[in-house]
Amino acid sequence: MIAELGHFAIVLALAVSIVQGTLPLVGAQRGIDALSAIARPAAIMQFLLLVLAFVALTLAFTGSDFSVLNVWQNSHTQKPMLYKISGVWGNHEGSLLLWVLILAAFGFGVATMGNNLPPSLRTRVIAIQGLIGVGFLLLLVFLSNPFERVFPVPAQGNGLNPLLQDPGLAFHPPFLYLGYVGFSIAFSFAVAALIEGKVDAAWARWVRPWTLAAWTALTIGIAMGSWWAYYELGWGGWWFWDPVENASFMPWLLGTALLHSAIVVEKRDALKTWTVLLAILTFSFSLLGTFIVRSGVLNSVHAFATDPARGVYILAFLVVAIGGSLALYAWRAPTLKTGGVFAPISREGSLVLNNLLLIAATATVFIGTMYPLFLDAITGEKVTVGPPFFNATFVPLMVPLVVVMAIGPMMPWKRADLAGTLARMKVAAMITVAVALLTLYLSGFEPILAVLGMALGTWLVAGAAIDIGERTRVFRISLRDTLNRGRNLPRSAWGGAIAHAGLGVAILGITGSLSWEIERLQIMRPGDRIGIAGYEVEFGGVAPVTGPNYDAVRGTFRVFRDDELVEVMTPETRRFTQPSMVTTEAAIRPRNFGDLYAVVGESNGDGGFATRIYHKPMINWLWVGSIMMALGGLVSLTDRRLRVGAPRRRIAEAKPALRPQQQAT
């Protein structure tokens, strides 16, 4: 009964979204208010219906209702409750339902909070959001119904892929989707603006918080996936340049570019057509990512769908959505008025450079990801484009980006004095050189790329610190005045500095963990000791343990430092029965500046076990850096200027304490 309700709800939602996507557009075009007025209630209705459907599916999962095909295929009565719930989106149909739910939630947000938007723009944005909804609801209702029944009712379910039974991964998809789908708002705003023929600062003030929220969620989602790979796959890799990862990384790169170009539209009324194009591209890459991940053209833990009809449908939808919006762009973009001019050396100029480099980087990732698919489709030849390709293309593009990134926020708008800006970076440059020299000294010139990485990371962190320091005039005025200034700084300035510093910290972590990782691989018998990075690790043998839905072999390692016991590590090899599968649970202990990472492998049949122990220096910095980036996004979101519903109040509160160029930040 509950499943039927859910099914009914998604069918109704499809009907509502068709109405939402068509009539208001006509209404806005012809000036028929009665039709325009449908937009808001329709968006609210669609959201409520999809909430109902989602709750219905969740209840089917938590109640282990195996008469629902989807539940039977992906759940099991013995599964812990957390994974019964995460099982809702741990499959193709359920994750698609989550996708449309989030899509509708964003439409709901515009409908309920968009009181200060020009009515015609609001109506069009909601309608475009409805049209995207139609595309996905068609797929959901006709090709991926999550509420399909199975008869006779099986007694027990098939269970969820054990690799996915993990707290880090339970919340990875929702965040990723919030990010992906969040960009749909920027897309809808872009398309609506093209129809309206008008892009102005108010438009950017609306697009920016939504993009920022989506970007923050996507950052968290990607970091979670990466963290999961780190501790779950058993050898401590956290990024593989796997097509599935790239699928989420490309929208992130473009979203980052969009975030920055929207600032220019808002502040300077320039780069308008470019920002509209970026908004379209960012969401297009989200759609492309969905296609890559969901269509089954690639095999991975993410590819649930093997039904070719779905792949064909998503591809067709992709062509219509991307092709349609780009055609509209080609037709309407020339009518948008271009805005403010600026010199190449200026804040705008540095943001343009940021955009160019991010686009170029996205292009290299795109080529590396799609080339194997093209080659396979055309010649049938199977190739893999591995990490070396991306290291050779993506990384060199990031170097100039990071260099400029530290300087850019300190440049004034319109026209900057490069020498003056660089002079302010003197301290940062000195710190950077000091760190580089220290790295050279400590690492003994090996590897030389590590020095570059450490220098770049330091440069970025120091640059962000100096940016805030300059704005608060630290050490030049009394501490209390500095603190006051700090409090009065726009939150977006804080957010930007925190996010930039976060990337710097992450770069330091990446560099450290890649450059100075130590790996020890050996056969150990109980009582054997090995030394790694100043620690002595003693193997204590293995013992069987029983988990809620698996049996495991648990190894014990005792870690000593100066003959003192500091850690006990217990990695496991888990054998799941539903579905039948073995997973490796690494034991990870953060120590000072890095992780100790231990894995126990198979027995050699002679009392010894293959063991693998890593020391991964500075890897924690990567996670800290990721959190800082997301935090920067959140802090920036609290900026009252960006707060949804309060964008117009800004002018009233000019801040006399700030110099003119900073006021504009």
């Binding site: 290299t364 190739v383 591995g386 293309t393 691989l521």
Partner: protein, 147 residues
């Protein structure tokens, strides 16, 4: 004059960034494409020792052995027509088993032994990497119902 000049700067900067990216891409492609070969391909193509590639097929029954250090595993990858000996030092993936599909990435040694740098055996017990399924089909040994 100003806006035109400005646009020129942007176009030039854009071209430079794109050119840089294209150059990097072309250089990287040269070296970093990893081709997939079945055991039959290995014998047919005569691949040199400095070319990295992926070898895929089934782990031949009763071919898995350990070398003296206890860490190096030797096995044979077969497409049921030909088989290539493989040596891998390290902990094998959890799903590595005789008779199962496997993909190994590495280089072919002068003695004809494939030295694997990594071994992938993926996801679940019924899973066969699509490349392996195709290799089996090509060698006419395909018995499964669907890939």
């Amino acid at each position: 004059m100003r806006p035109k000049r400005r646009r020129l700067y942007f176009v030039l900067a854009g071209m430079a960034a794109l050119g840089f990216a294209v150059a990097l891409t072309l250089f990287a492609f040269e070296d970093n494409l990893v081709f997939f070969s079945s055991p039959t391909d290995v014998y047919a193509k005569d691949i040199g020792p400095d070319r990295k590639f992926r070898l895929g097929g089934l782990v031949e029954e009763e071919s898995v052995g350990k070398s003296d250090d206890g860490l190096t595993t030797t096995f044979r990858v077969t497409d049921l027509s030909n088989a290539v000996p493989v040596a891998y030092t390290g902990i094998l993936p959890d799903l590595f088993r005789e008779g199962q599909g496997v993909v190994a990435e590495g280089r072919l040694g002068a003695d004809g032994v494939f030295i694997a740098e990594s071994v992938l055996a993926k996801h679940d017990e019924n899973y066969l990497p699509p490349e392996v399924a195709e290799a089996l089909k090509k060698s006419g040994q395909w018995k499964g119902a669907n890939p």
